[in-house]
Symmetry: C2
Subunit: 443 residues, 2 copies
């Protein structure tokens, strides 16, 4: 039996996750578009034996790019160049089921999986940003339920495309002249309410068969989707209790559908500020928060809560009632995370903005390496996490502190690998390689 | 004044361009999905100071993959990994205006141009393959004229997306907190018959401003499109006269539209079989042709001519009348190339199939290095070409022979560079970097 070990991803965000990271003297904004910077970062994560690097994405420009590094690196191109500079670390790309064509998306992932020799993962998202719809010929974005409806159909279709070449279909026998056994290449022939795709894919089956399926929505639709499809789930929690509830819920949903719950990894986001003393770590955290720009932070809050607060309200209490009743919410599950913070900590508006500046509702830990390791271990050992999505406040230093000081402690405690045992992301995550659904039964 | 020099691209095709290349003992079919193989090949082309590597593409599986390596490597991922293994060589990706969304495509190219530091080129195609339509929810592919209509609108829209960030928009001033000057980021706000895109792009302007625009259709619609948009044109010609006519036509079309004809490079495809004697080169050529499979070759002919010939007809004359009147043609301009071969050479059906096996209607030259160089020089100096798209019959040997034996002769004759003078594809091709159309007039 394999020993259970926690999993660690590096969630890469241009400039770092803290909204003011790019302004800090430890950051070099001249490098935010330099692929070499990201290749180096991935090499460091690989040297630390991390499971994967992960890139978020979205098909629109954020309104508030005036104040923060909120442009988007395109994940397929960026991760392909990173694949070329690394050998083992997984490569997880976010891609939308709302605004891409399944045939195109299936090809991008198949190709990424081939060129990385089996390291691709797909963070499956639906796109809700209203700006995105207007970039794709729509006046308004599809409603939540309809987006998930398309997402399910989309995943079923691309799965069949990835399966459309059986593993044995590529023969390439120089002597007989048989390049591909077309009896083992299958039309998908899908025609559904949202999508019509005939297939087959024009790329042979990949090292992993399919990319690892990752999911990050925590709404009711999102959880149902995760229970059915996800092999890893990214999620945001501030407290052990909330993370435990979510963890139990996802595992139960998977089990109900006949899946092995241990093959659905729950990975909360953690943004660590690390110092040699707790005071030093807190001072560092404050240093970043002092660089925030209230106009930006208020826009971010509005994006999540649908309520517009003003600079005049910064030093007053958070108007809880207004928040609970007002506005259309951009992100339902994140809304609850923020309400909980308000109830638990009773912050001023400025205090709340600072609480969210680090990681947009994900958990920020400021402490010594031991304290950070303790927190991770607690969640890991108490049914709240199978591992973590590490969200460095700034790059590369915020990651280096974690890799150099927290990772060794996790290893000493027997919680994290000291080197890779496999070569594919499925192997890092302990997931089996799926057979093609078209595969002939084995003798 | 810069001396005129010819341009050379390496057109990469899995296995090589000869339809039976993968069967030849010089090929290793085990490498056709190995990114390392293609990275090595690009490094060789870079060592030879080639302008670019070029990947074709299409969003469907060819019917006849049973007999030949006719799957598709996805160009954006593949070229991004190649970018990471090279420093100077251009990277030209084929991408369809028929079956992609402009916002997604604009992001892929912007990102490729950033990560390659200005080496991206876009081979702009419309997709006519009937199998493709069925992968994108359509029963039949759009008619030719409508596809070009959408293509024009598409190019105009993505051009504006690439221009939507002025060069000075990215400020990233840590002190003032201004990340991007939003007065210099522009909505595209396009609403046309085929496309609605609001913008702006979510990626800052790229090193080249826009990828180099390449075009490869030689139909009337294709030529009109090239005259208006193309900065490099790929084309297939068997004779000097045909290439000269095409060359003059493209340059005239560009001039009529007020463009500088020297900034529209015409690059015919050439597939060279090279031997130390002409007899050796011909023997090599025959060796490959003997590996062809008539069933495959007849399918290919049917794809181009719309006429289905049979194995019984292989050793008889080509039924010219049937070909001229029968069938729906897949590729109008290639049709004329083949009719000309039939008229000029009066081949048997098998002879015609062999003539097309090398490069699907592109010119095949079998000869000594001097003979090959002579042929290129003749076309280059007689108004038929500004350079060539080199299509090695097999890989990597077919390319190595050209790089090792023909390139030095071209250099001795002062026809080709011995090293790069620039770092971007625009610089290799002698093209200026375009200003953003939204740029404020310079003082």
């Amino acid at each position: 039996m394999t020993r259970r070990e926690l999993h660690l991803n590096l969630f890469v965000y241009p400039g770092g996750h803290h909204e003011a990271a790019w302004r800090h003297h430890a950051s070099d904004p001249g490098q935010i578009l330099d692929i070499g910077f990201y290749q180096d970062l991935a090499r460091r994560a690989e040297a630390a034996a991390f499971d994967a690097v992960f890139f978020a994405d979205g098909p629109a420009l954020a309104d508030n790019v005036r104040y923060a590094s909120r442009f988007r690196l395109e994940p397929f191109t960026w991760l392909s160049a990173i694949a070329a500079a690394t050998e083992r670390i997984g490569l997880i790309a976010t891609a939308s089921t709302t605004y891409t064509e399944p045939y195109n998306l299936a090809r991008l992932f198949a190709s990424l999986d081939h060129l990385s020799r089996g390291r691709a993962g797909w963070n499956i998202v639906t796109t809700g940003a209203p700006q995105a719809a207007r970039n794709f010929g729509l006046d308004a974005h599809p409603v939540h339920a309809e987006r998930y409806d398309r997402a399910r159909e989309f995943v079923d279709v691309v799965t069949r495309l990835w399966d459309s070449w059986e593993d044995e279909a590529l023969v390439a026998d120089q002597k007989t002249g048989l390049f591909a056994d077309t009896d083992r290449i299958h039309a998908v022939d899908h025609s559904g309410p949202h999508l019509t795709v005939y297939g087959p894919l024009n790329i042979p089956r990949t090292p992993q068969g399919r990319p690892v399926y990752v999911q990050a929505g925590s709404s009711e639709d999102g959880r149902a989707f995760a229970g059915r499809y996800a092999e890893a789930v990214f999620t945001a929690h501030q407290t052990l209790g909330s993370a435990q509830d979510f963890y139990a819920d996802i595992k139960a949903r998977a089990a109900t559908l006949g899946r092995d719950p241990s093959k659905v990894l729950v990975l909360p986001g953690i943004s660590p500020f690390i110092g040699s003393t707790e005071a030093e770590a807190r001072a560092l955290y404050d240093e970043f928060n002092e660089l925030t720009q209230p106009e930006y932070s208020l826009q971010q809050l509005h994006r999540i809560l649908g309520v517009r607060l003003t600079e005049e309200q910064l030093d007053g209490p958070v108007p809880r009632e207004l928040i609970e009743t007002g506005g259309e919410r951009g992100n339902g599950s994140r809304f609850q995370v923020i309400l909980d913070i308000i109830d638990r900590e009773q912050p001023t508006v400025r205090g709340l903005l600072h609480r969210l500046a680090g990681a947009r509702g994900h958990r920020v830990i400021a402490g010594t390496p031991e304290q950070v390791a303790d927190q991770l271990q607690e969640w890991y050992e108490h049914g709240a996490a199978d591992g973590f999505n590490i969200m460095p406040p700034w790059l590369p230093g915020g990651f280096d502190l974690f890799a150099d000081h927290v990772v060794p402690i996790l290893r000493e405690r027997g919680l994290f690998r000291s080197s890779y045992t496999g070569t594919t992301l499925r192997e890092h995550y302990g997931l089996a390689r799926p057979d093609s659904q078209y595969a002939s039964p084995r003798a």
